[in-house]
Amino acid sequence: MPIDPSFAGRTYPPTEPYEVGVEKIREFAAALGDDNPAYRDRAAAAALGHPDVIAPPTFPFVLTFQASRRLIDDPDLGIDYSRVVHGEQKFAHTRPVRAGDALTVTVTLETVRSAGGHDMITSRSDVATVEGEHVATAWSTLVVRGEG
């Protein structure tokens, strides 16, 4: 069953705050094999003008991936996750995520389209602090492969 395009525009409730810890950022940077001191050392981050250790540009995916379950598990959409492939990903940063941030994610289903028997779903995840400061927006396009 193709996904009904009329669900485009649907917005899900914001996630509970995610508290960004310096050790989580260090763990993520280590997983990338990236020893950039801005990800590890407060003094190094401060020398670049950041109030605390900052996270790599793709780090918001840790939060938005969790938040996207709201959309993937939405019974109205009926997505078969075993058929999902990640097609595209984009980030726009107002500022880098940094240690000490408490962030919520608001997921919006932006577009639904079908082509070649597949559904393409683009979601937008707005990442903001609990104080309401916008930090980043992430767009994910998931391809739901058709059956047969």
């Binding site: 763990e27 950039n36 990800y39 670049l48 003008g49 540009p57 793709t58 990640h86 990903q89």
Partner: protein, 146 residues
């Protein structure tokens, strides 16, 4: 060692066509396990060969987001301050199979300044290849330079 803006690229000195230092990354199975843990993406196709091949993949494949993150290194190492990356987007056009050996899979990443934008920003176009084939499409970053 603390870095400063002193070694960072300067907008007025950077021309379109400027090539960023290329990098080659080695992706081994252990790297995928570690990335799965750090990112929270435990999809079995990234660590279980039996499941990966049963759904038609050639082998365990790297997380697209891991490949995307590695490719970003060419930009963040050049920019000195990773916080200067304003936008970063890719298409996942081809998977990177990661064999169960010590050699792993090689990811070669090059980048060059494709456009100078307003407000001291440049657009960097990245090319990421594995085994001679591009694995990312339309890989672009917008970076604020001093």
């Amino acid at each position: 060692m603390a870095q400063t803006y002193d070694s960072a690229p300067v907008f007025d000195e950077i021309e379109v066509g400027h090539e960023l230092p290329a990098q080659t990354f080695t992706i081994r199975r252990a790297d995928l396990v570690r990335y799965a843990g750090a990112s929270g993406d435990f999809n079995v196709i990234h660590w279980n060969q039996r499941v990966a091949t049963s759904v038609g993949l050639p082998d365990v494949i790297a997380h697209g987001m891991f490949t995307m993150a590695l490719a970003a290194r060419v930009v963040t190492d050049w920019a000195v301050d990773p916080g200067r990356v304003q936008e970063y987007g890719v298409r996942f056009t081809r998977p990177v199979p990661v064999p169960d050996d010590d050699q792993g899979a090689l990811l070669e990443v090059t980048g060059k300044v494709a456009a100078k934008l307003d407000d001291g920003m440049v657009r960097v176009d990245l090319t990421a290849t594995h085994a001679g084939a591009k694995v990312l499409g339309r890989a672009q970053a917008v970076v604020a330079l001093g």
